[in-house]
Amino acid sequence: MSNHKVQIEVNGKNIEAEVSGRTHLADFLRNNLNLTGTHIGCEHGVCGCCTVLMDEEPIRSCIILAVQADGHKIKTVEGMSEINQETGKRELSNIQKAFWEGHGLQCGFCTPGMLLTTEALLAENPDPTDQEIREALSGNICRCTGYLQIVEAVKLAAKMNKNSTLVYLPEEV
């Protein structure tokens, strides 16, 4: 049994923690940091629910040890929205707004992984075709939607990145 001190930048915050060697990153985020938006679906690297960004790249957090994230930057779904310092309200990213508006989800379990994979896709390819979206998301399984509204939501997010006034969601309380 080995315990290890790690320093990880999680959602822009520097985290210092001690973790056992055998803890994978998804468990660490969920149990040690209480970032329960990262979900665990299969624990063998197939379903994509646990996708997070490590140094801006999507990875599966169930098949990387937490200690391997030492010295790296991790972004989870909780880091996608942020508090507006002026209004004090939490503001969603365009991708989150587009998935809400376009109903690119149902039960919400695969959603964080979908959102983060989309973020990496749009960073690389701001205007993807349907086919490119489907290819980029092919490692994220969804059992609810049949993907149609997810693809539409990604396209909407791409549009919103160019023109942020496109959607009208209920005012956030």
Binding site: R22, E43, T51, C62, I63, L65, A136, G139
Partner: protein, 299 residues
């Protein structure tokens, strides 16, 4: 699905890795990309006492052209290799097969050499490295040896790698395109779903001389035996001939004599045979088409 308890070490230089391996042998497991190791750790199918993380060993991150070889260190990840200009210029076939590996999340972590060492019989990289005459540098604390891919695989997911050794580099010879001729490559595979392990994979590289004849051909299949195979009979048959569809059909017949496909609880033997015949023919035609396109591009 939580791993057994193990110690984790993260050496920062190669000597330290090798010392650890020498000391612990089978009890240690090297962790590089982890995309094959972590699932089996989680399922407790792998039960190491020590996991040796080589991600901080900087000397393994090389991807260079050196002495007419492309050399790739054990730290090179699929996504890095896929995007590298060296790969596109010198090893287009390898670059072509990488998108077939898993999904982007897997390619961002998984390594080229990890895929070879894991030795899945239908994996993309071992097949391509095999037909491009790749060889591996195997290093232990006391020894260093070079093993061609053709001698590395022993059987189903078994290799020549010894417990105290690690693969530090994959080296593939650079081939120049025949003067006035062209080169074409193709990689195809059949997987049940996008990103799954292939049931059958095929790779080919075809060089055409300035008269339009086959100057050099390399072709291989994955998924039809315990390890990827190179179709030397097909290569010999095609050598110096004029490439035509009919010729490729004839060539595909040759594999009938020595294709030995294993039974599998999911996939009937006859199915793999069918796909193998089809793919041999198709991968050659696609490589030829690619050669024609690149010839036109050059002239």
């Amino acid at each position: 699905m939580k791993p057994v308890d193990f110690d984790y070490v993260k050496p920062s230089d190669l000597n330290e890795v090798l010392q650890t391996l020498n000391l612990l042998k089978d009890k240690a497991k090297i962790l590089s990309g982890g995309q094959s190791l972590l699932p089996v750790l989680n399922m407790r199918l792998a039960r190491p006492e020590v996991v040796v993380d080589i991600n901080e060993v900087k000397e393994l991150n090389h991807l260079v052209v050196e002495n007419d070889y492309i050399k790739m260190g054990a730290g090179v990840r699929h996504s890095f290799a896929e995007q590298s200009a060296i790969m596109k210029d010198y090893l287009p076939l390898l670059a072509k097969c990488i998108p077939y590996i898993g999904h982007s999340q897997i390619r961002n972590r998984g390594t080229v050499i990890g895929s070879i060492v894991h030795a899945d019989p239908s994996a993309e990289i071992p097949l391509v490295a095999l037909i491009l005459d790749g060889h591996l540098e195997l290093v232990s604390e006391e020894d260093k040896r070079t093993v061609p891919l053709s001698e590395f695989f022993y059987g189903y997911m078994m290799t020549d790698l010894q417990p105290e050794e690690m693969v530090t580099s994959l080296n593939i010879p650079v081939r120049s395109i025949p003067v006035g001729g062209s080169r074409g490559t193709s990689f195809i595979e059949m997987a049940r779903r996008e990103g799954d392990f292939a049931l059958v994979a095929a790779a080919a590289q075809l060089e055409i001389d300035k008269e339009g004849f086959i100057y050099d051909v390399r072709i291989g299949l994955g998924g039809v035996g315990p390890a990827p195979i190179r179709l030397e009979e097909v290569e010999n048959f095609l050598q110096q001939k004029e490439p035509t569809e009919d010729l490729f059909i004839e060539a595909s017949q040759l594999i009938k004599n020595y294709l030995e496909v294993d039974e599998d609880p999911f996939v009937p033997k006859e199915y793999r045979e069918h796909v193998a015949f089809r793919f041999v023919q198709r991968v050659l035609s696609e490589a030829l088409a690619d050669a024609k396109t690149s010839y036109e591009r050059m002239s």
